[in-house]
Symmetry: C2
Subunit: 334 residues, 2 copies
DNA sequence: TTCTAGCCTGCAAGCGCTGTCATCGAAGTC
DNA sequence: GACTTCGATGACAGCGCTTGCAGGCTAGAA
């Protein structure tokens, strides 16, 4: 910056004021400074300004992984919104217990970002307390945190509508498949299952625990086993509702392998509206992941700027049932 | 830090030395400082240390988007490696021309990270020159940059082996589908197509341009059109090689819709080994995306530490042909 | 002309760390 | 016992910016 000042024949203060767009700089000086800065390809050292202002110009995001459809879509929504705000994006992906302990122990985000977005992260009470220690604004994304700024969808209501759709098609035996939560990171399945069960209860159907099934991760034949178990029940389901589209894709593959026709013999409904859902013709509940990311950033900005009430604002985004080919009426006589 | 020093009854210098793990601190002092730091939940202000050391403890990643399988997998590989190195991850997703111009104009990464990883980003010469201006180490990921540290797979060789596999199965009419490059961001398709063509040439087959087809993006019926065009050729292909698995998934859907059996009537081969490829039973060329990310970080670390020769090291990771159910011999008499 | 009110601009004091140098005491040497 | 050596610690000067304050300059008012 001193170089720029020298080249423009002004003081560093003036360069600083110019570059930050303060209005107390005359047009001629501004022009000189700007061209000097351009000629020298000057870029400000944020560390130095942060030190003075206490602001980092960075937003940190904490998520349980980076490779899932939902999370990468949410990030995609955040990126342009952040750029527009002139903020940089710092990503903390914390997957295993070890990393997790490390993160909450060292709190690396502290004083290293202006806000922390906690995305789809089921926090323990201790972890939550630790984050409160951070001394930086927290925004919860894809999860509801009482009294805290949050952006999310109403999973329970969405699942309720999904199951209702199946009920309306005439299904009475509806199974619910969820992922087996190995890591303790899952969070939404509870709400989705709750919505499903509520729809059944509303319809006067009794809850049959043998129709709720947990399926282990990607590897292995967990899905085939689950399908086998369901299809060999005394009274097998005519519809299968999965907690996520990912699960539904695997389910569709397993059903195809088992020569069970969809939606002829069973209907399948997912949750997410993953890009592949269209390709696979999967009926699903669309949750606006990109929009969620974008909105989260908007909320974060107002939290940082300390706008009125932003600190406890809750934004609930809508979900949509997207009917495709994987659902239909149950087989007659079924 | 002053607080910690006061509480531990030592000077800030000693706190600094302790927290950085320098060995010139006695065990008793170290213990006192560490517990004081813990009690106060102290976390260092990186801005301040950066200002002194000139190191930010951050690595920036430039990528064309965040939501593709490959890029999010690569990020997944980077995250743990970075954490281990105590580095933070700064993500710049630059998708449209406007963002792109902005990024290269303002060079926000400059002095804001210790290195920049350029991932799958087809740079214009001007952009490349601009990055050279950065004054920070560059590492190219999933692309080869002459004379620069790069980590990538040999797309051409992989595609060559893919096509060779189809040839070995007996196919002679093999089509190649690539995405239509709307944005100018694509880069690998050229190499993959080159490998495909080379395999054909090696087998003494003449190149038939009508078998190379560009398919527009996700929206619309581009894929159905492409399939229609190929299948109505005088002599239609018996095998279809797609530039990416994503494309292959859409292709499989289109073929199913068109009642073309796979691999009975046509074989389909993808490229990537996307998570869904297993589910879909797609034969594909696996590229180790996660490993690519991890390796890129390892290389970045040695570039930052200025290890011998790191600045021009090239690491080529292997690809694997993964045979699954979507490929088989051509229909007899075909 | 002299005075006052603005407008710009420069000066200088930090922001919270790191790293050099000086200091101090204890242990080792002869 | 006097001297050296060395390990452990503290003092202090910045790193590159921002920002309150002071000062110089111009212009309109008296």
């Amino acid at each position: 910056m001193a170089d720029v000042a020298h080249r423009a024949g002004v003081s560093v203060s003036t360069v600083s004021r110019t570059l930050r767009g303060l209005s107390t700089v005359s047009d001629t000086t501004r022009a000189r400074v700007e061209s000097a800065a351009r000629e020298l390809s000057f870029a400000i050292t944020r560390s130095a300004s942060s030190l003075v202002t206490g602001r980092t110009g960075r937003v940190a995001v904490l998520m349980p992984n980076l490779a899932s459809w939902f999370l990468s879509s949410a990030l995609s929504g955040m990126a342009p919104a952040l750029r527009e705000a002139g903020l940089d994006l710092l990503v903390y992906s914390v997957s295993d217990v070890h990393e997790r302990a490390d993160f909450f122990d060292r709190l690396p985000a502290r004083r290293n970002a202006d806000a922390l977005l906690v995305v789809s992260f089921a926090l323990t009470p201790a972890e939550r307390a630790r984050l409160d220690d951070l001394g930086m604004p927290l925004v919860f994304v894809s999860q509801h945190a009482p009294g805290r700024p949050s952006v999310y969808v109403d999973d329970e209501d969405a699942a309720l509508r999904g199951t209702r759709h199946l009920l309306n098609l005439g299904h009475r035996r509806i199974a619910f498949l969820q992922t087996f939560d190995e890591t303790g990171f899952a969070w939404s399945s509870k709400n989705r299952l709750a919505g499903h069960l509520r729809a059944l209860a509303d319809a006067g159907l009794e809850h049959d625990p043998s129709l709720v099934m947990s399926v282990p991760g990607w590897k292995g034949s967990g899905m085939a086993t689950a399908v086998g178990r369901l299809m060999s029940l005394q009274s097998p389901p005519t519809a299968l509702f999965t907690e996520t589209d990912d699960l539904a894709f695997r389910l569709l593959a397993a059903l195809r392998a088992a020569n069970v026709s969809v939606p002829g013999q069973v209907s399948v409904m997912g949750f997410d509206d993953h890009v592949m859902a269209g390709v696979m013709g999967l009926t699903t509940l669309a949750q606006p992941a990109v929009e969620l990311g974008r909105t989260a950033i908007a909320l974060t900005r107002s939290v940082i700027d300390d706008s009125d009430g932003a600190h406890e604002r809750h934004i609930v985004l809508p979900t949509e049932l997207v009917p495709r080919g994987s659902t239909g009426p149950p087989p007659t006589g079924g």
